[in-house]
């Protein structure tokens, strides 16, 4: 069914076309909105092709198109192409969908940008969509890695989109470096794996793995290296620190790249190669433990954030870790399922948060409150997203979350399972903390010195979009009233909300056949912990029945550590400053003053010696004659007596 491979290819190439047009045709790009229309048009076409391709590959059908990319020794070393099967086309559809919606949304969200900047934005967006699709459809590790790096590049470029702001410029670099550190492992893993199996091709390798033709000795190191790549990209501990900072980018970017697609690449990678990881159970155990730990860590961190985007960012880290845990437990399909639903509802949440920021001109939850009155539509869709994330029945996250919990338990990891149940509770709590504080509760500012502000002074950095929007809000802050966003922003929100509900309703009633059996108590426990979280949030932030400050005090050390982000960022910063920059200074000094110094020493010696010898040249001809005569004397002596 090669014909259907071309559909996937078309979906991929349409974005490439959009990027090339915008990159090369500078005048078009500088027009701004027309550039956006070009990009959106291509994205729409791409979505259509992706959906068709998905329908064509729904079953076991696999199509593969490859071309030689890198020859060596007269043979093909590496290829590029597309590998379209059920999983990849499904993921392709998700990417195409979210990319299209985000591009439409951005038209409204970034309407105040200057035209050249907007053109640049859409060029990056197209490049990102192309790279992400290339990653999804990659038939081999080389293309996978290429696109893997390219999406990282786009992430860097888009986080740093407002590069004039120091925080954004810093965050972009941080994101790139941290993920690149993971990629070092990934690249080493690929190289080692190539030596190990003699191929880059996923399909060929899978056949080898199926035949047991891959030697197991040393394979664990390789899979661990590959996992390191996923750790960087999918923000697993300890490389998770870049993702919250990445929120300095425009909110649509956060929705597309840092929630729905790019950050899930690590999960997708592990899912795509689960047959390889299955050969190394030790590494999988590491994946589970790190996943569960990261999930818990970031859920705790999410509870103390006051920046709405950071809450969502930590929530993303937490949910990614959920997926990782499921994959580590050996049931990658469950992780992949959650990846898809999460992609939908997390994009929804981010875009909703974007609408809120757009209206309130602030990222800070303490600046919000009772927004539901002003922007009811946004409130509804955001709540739908929050319910999905909490995993309540009838909403998208319900079944996928359940599956993950079941998978981890079925994998025999009891402690991680317990941690994940706790995370489910925390998730519901922090999500509804946001919902209540932003949309339903009285604004915190009205309760002077209200406890929720406790976290503000300590560590909050909410310069992100707010600072940007503040510039054009400066004209009339007082006169400004929050309002519903324009249609270009509302439309994607509704599409995603309806999809979340549709998926939720479908899977609430139509259970797919799971690969494992979950005990009957699992669902009540999961839903119950979520409901408990919601109730706690309601009691604390809506009714203010429980004092937030005393709640924080109850968890004193944890609360304070969480405000300091458990000092992980500080450790990395120190490592960067001391280990890398400091060491480089030492090397630089050594090079200039020792290695080169030795050379200068030789040179200076020569010059000094020459200076001394110079006096021999008196300039008086007679001295030279004298010298010649003495020379003659010596010569004669040598000839006669030597």
């Amino acid at each position: 069914m090669a014909g259907d491979g071309t559909l996937a290819l078309a979906a991929l190439l349409l974005h490439a076309v959009a990027f090339l047009v915008l990159a090369v045709a500078a005048p078009l790009r500088r027009l701004g909105r027309p550039a956006g229309y070009v990009s959106i048009l291509c994205a729409a076409g791409s979505l259509a092709a992706a959906v068709l391709s998905w329908r064509a590959h729904a079953g076991e059908a696999i199509s593969r198109l490859v071309w030689t990319w890198l020859p060596t020794e007269g043979q093909t070393l590496a290829t590029v192409g597309v590998l379209a099967d059920a999983d990849s086309t499904l993921m392709l559809t998700l990417v195409a969908l979210v990319a299209l919606l985000v591009q439409v949304y951005s038209l409204g969200y970034l309407s105040d940008e200057s035209a050249p900047a907007l053109g640049r934005y859409y060029a990056y967006q197209s490049l990102f969509a192309f790279s992400m699709m290339g990653l999804v459809l990659a038939p081999n590790f080389v293309q996978l890695f290429i696109c893997w790096e390219l999406v990282g590049l786009c992430s860097y470029l888009l986080i740093g989109f407002w590069y004039q702001r120091p925080a954004a410029a810093r965050a972009a670099l941080k994101a790139f470096w941290i993920t690149k550190a993971g990629d070092v492992g990934f690249l080493i893993g690929i190289v080692l794996l190539w030596r190990h199996t003699g191929t880059f091709d996923l399909a060929e390798m899978r056949v080898l793995a199926g035949n047991g033709a891959i030697p197991l000795a040393g394979l664990a190191v390789i899979t661990f290296c590959i996992y390191l790549g996923a750790v960087g990209k999918s923000a697993q501990f300890p490389l998770h620190i870049w993702l919250p900072d990445a929120m300095e980018g425009p909110t649509p970017v956060s929705a597309l790249i840092h929630a729905a697609t790019m950050v899930t690449a690590g999960v997708y990678l592990l899912h795509r190669t689960d047959w390889l990881f299955a050969l190394t159970p030790d590494v999988l155990a590491i994946v589970v433990w790190i996943g569960a730990f990261t999930a818990l860590l970031s859920a705790v961190l999410a509870c103390v954030q006051t920046d709405i985007k950071r809450v969502l960012a930590y929530s993303t880290v937490s949910q990614l870790s959920y997926m990782m845990a499921a994959i580590g437990a050996g049931f990658s399909a469950a992780g992949f399922f959650h990846l898809l639903t999460h992609g939908i509802f997390k994009a929804l949440l981010f875009l909703g948060a974007g609408a809120v920021i757009h209206a309130a001109h602030s990222n800070d939850l303490t600046d919000m409150g009772r927004l539901a009155r002003r922007m009811p539509q946004t409130a509804i869709v955001f709540t739908v997203g929050a319910l999905s994330l909490a995993g309540l029945p009838l909403f998208a996250g319900f079944l996928s979350k359940e599956e993950i919990l079941g998978a981890v338990r079925a994998g025999g990891f009891t402690a991680p399972f317990a941690m994940l149940i706790l995370v489910a509770f925390l998730t519901a709590f922090y999500m509804f903390r946001v919902v209540f504080l932003a949309f339903f509760a009285e604004p915190v500012a009205l309760h002077a010195g209200a406890p929720v502000a406790a976290g503000v002074g300590a560590h909050a950095s909410h310069v992100a979009d707010a600072g940007h929007h503040a510039s054009h809000a400066a004209a009339g802050v007082a006169a400004h009233e929050p309002h519903e966003p324009p249609a270009s922003m509302l439309l994607p929100l509704w599409v995603l909300a309806l999809l979340s509900v549709a998926i939720g309703v479908y899977f609430t009633f139509v259970h797919p056949e799971p690969e494992f059996t979950s005990p009957a108590w699992l669902m009540p426990v999961a839903v119950g912990s979520a409901v408990a979280g919601i109730l706690l949030a309601w009691a604390t932030y809506q009714r203010r029945a429980i004092d937030a400050a005393s709640l924080a005090a109850a968890f004193g050390p944890i609360y304070r550590s969480a405000l300091a982000r458990f000092w992980i960022d500080d450790v990395f910063e120190r490592a960067y400053l001391l280990a890398i920059l400091g060491f480089s200074r030492v090397i630089g000094w050594i090079d200039r003053y020792l290695v080169d110094g030795v050379l200068n020493m030789l040179s200076a010696w020569t010059v000094t010696a020459a200076d001394d010898l110079r006096t021999m040249q008196s300039g008086r001809a007679q001295d030279y004659v004298y010298g010649i005569a003495v020379g003659l004397l010596v010569l004669l002596l040598w000839v006669q007596f030597g």
Binding site: L70, T72, A169, S584, W589, Y593
Partner: protein, 511 residues
């Protein structure tokens, strides 16, 4: 077969335009520039033509031109190319063509400047296309010597504080001035070429058959002791030009002091002469010694990679950063060559090309930035991205290639080298190489972030700066295009190179 002597045309066209410039273009700066454009343009067309029509199926040395010069000594004007030298000639042509545009605004003595530059390029072309060792050496010297004048007259001085235990020596030699840099570079390279000359003469004597022809020499089997020390002589001699540690210190000073086009050409092409010399002469003529000493070449290459990257990170002067990045990247070239695997050697040659283009781009941009902002101090500049988006984009693409990001030429080169390293006899080379790539991403993006993609610097001089203009676009456009083209479609470079590396390695490893 009666066809155009393309290789001679390619080599001598710049020389002819240098003569025309010297004799007919006095006080006519525009004529000087256009003559240079035409001369190098002819070379570019010829090199592309050669590259395109090179018969990949037949492989080996093609486009041969030969006539005896000094028959009694076996010296002949012998020119031919294989896949490796075809790529190198193409690189040279691209860099100099862009370099002519990049130095369009040279004001002082532009006539002599362009003439010397073109003479130098003739030397470089000659080295890549000639197969007679004697002529090779002549061209090599032609390529090295004009550098002294080019840096000494048109260069710029930096500011380095003498300190440390060798402080007095540094004060004495005048560290930082352009005269110092020019002299250091020249002395270093001549020191190296003395080794090369001795090695070549030793081979000439050892053959006993009075020939300098590479084609004949490579069929001979020299005795192991001779091979060993001639190989080491070649390694040191060519290696100095390739910037091997610890003989690399001429390179940062030289590149930092040199004018734009000279830095481009020097870092972009001349350092490749060194690596090319090691591969062509060292590995091509002395296969046994090459196998024996691969560990040394590769290990020092690894030191180069990490050490160069860390040194680059410590610099505050933009040109020094780029210069040290060259040291680091040449390490990859050396490691790739030392792997003695087809993949690694392909990577090495590809890295020569990729690094040539990218560093040419870098130095062109440094020149442009300096011309507009009059500063090379990284941490004083900032936020130029908004004012000069074109330059900023070009720099970023160069930076991405430098750190080995896919879809740029740098990735292909590094990836092949990594694969080669892991399949060589010394697999641990992989790790310094990969770490070097990571360190590169740290320093190069730090610089890009500071100068272009960061908040604006408060300095009032930096508030209204123009983007690139006119001919400068040509320089940037050509280099960026090549960088991306070869990154997206690496097979157009690898396919011909592969035909040559395979034959080379056949003799080395006997497989």
């Amino acid at each position: 077969m009666n066809r155009l002597p393309l290789l001679s045309i390619m080599t001598w066209a710049p020389f002819a335009s240098a003569l025309i410039i010297m004799f007919f273009a006095r006080r006519r700066p525009l004529l000087v520039r256009w003559t240079s454009v035409v001369g190098t343009g002819i070379s570019l067309v010829a090199s592309i033509w050669v590259y395109w029509t090179y018969d990949r199926a037949a492989a080996g040395f093609q486009f041969q031109e030969a006539f005896p010069l000094v028959p009694s000594l076996g010296i002949s004007y012998l020119m031919a190319i294989d896949g490796i030298s075809a790529l190198m000639a193409l690189l040279t042509a691209i860099i100099i063509f862009a370099g002519v545009f990049a130095s369009w605004t040279t004001k002082e003595r532009s006539q002599e400047f362009y003439a010397l530059l073109l003479v130098l390029v003739t030397g470089v072309f000659g080295v890549f296309v000639t197969l007679d060792l004697f002529i090779f050496f002549l061209f090599y010297e032609i390529a090295v010597l004009p550098m002294y004048l080019l840096i000494g007259i048109w260069g710029s001085s930096g500011d380095i504080r003498p300190q440390g235990i060798f402080g007095w020596a540094m004060g004495r030699t005048g560290v930082g001035t352009k005269e110092y840099a020019a002299m250091k570079l020249t002395l270093y390279l001549l020191f190296g070429s003395a080794f090369i000359l001795v090695g070549m003469l030793a081979l000439f004597v050892a053959t006993g058959s009075r020939t300098f022809s590479f084609l004949e020499l490579q069929t001979m089997q020299f005795e192991p002791a001779l091979q060993t020390w001639v190989f080491l002589a070649f390694y040191v001699g060519f290696g100095i030009l390739a910037g091997i540690w610890p003989l690399h210190t001429w390179s940062p000073d030289g590149h930092a002091s040199a004018p734009t086009a000279v830095s481009m050409l020097h870092a972009g092409v001349l350092m490749k002469l060194g690596a090319y010399g090691v591969v062509r002469m060292g590995m091509g003529l002395l296969p046994d010694a090459a196998v024996d000493w691969a560990w040394l070449v590769g290990t020092i290459g690894c030191i180069n990679i990490v050490y160069g990257a860390l040194s680059a990170m410590a610099q505050t002067d933009l040109k020094y950063v780029i210069a040290y990045s060259s040291v680091s990247h040449m390490g990859i070239v050396m490691v790739g060559a030392a792997t003695l695997t087809p993949t690694g050697l392909n990577g090495s040659v590809f890295q020569m090309f990729a690094h040539g283009i990218m560093t040419g781009l870098f130095f062109a941009i440094v020149g442009l930035v300096y011309e507009k902002a009059h500063s090379r101090e990284i941490f004083k500049m900032g936020g130029f991205g908004a004012m000069m988006p074109g330059i900023a984009t070009a720099f970023t693409i160069g930076a991405l290639s430098s750190l080995g990001l896919p879809a740029t030429a740098g990735f292909v080169a590094e990836f092949l080298t990594f694969l080669g390293a892991w399949t060589s006899d010394y697999p641990w080379w992989l790790f310094p190489a990969v770490i070097g790539a990571f360190l590169t991403s740290v320093y190069v993006l730090r610089v890009a972030g500071q100068i272009f993609w960061g908040p604006k610097a408060p300095d009032p001089h930096f508030q209204h700066l123009p983007d690139a203009q006119g001919p400068e676009w040509a320089a940037l456009g050509i280099l960026v295009f090549v960088l991306v083209l070869f990154g997206v479609l690496p097979s157009i470079a690898i396919a011909p190179v592969d035909t040559a590396t395979g034959q080379l390695l056949l003799r080395l490893t006997g497989q």
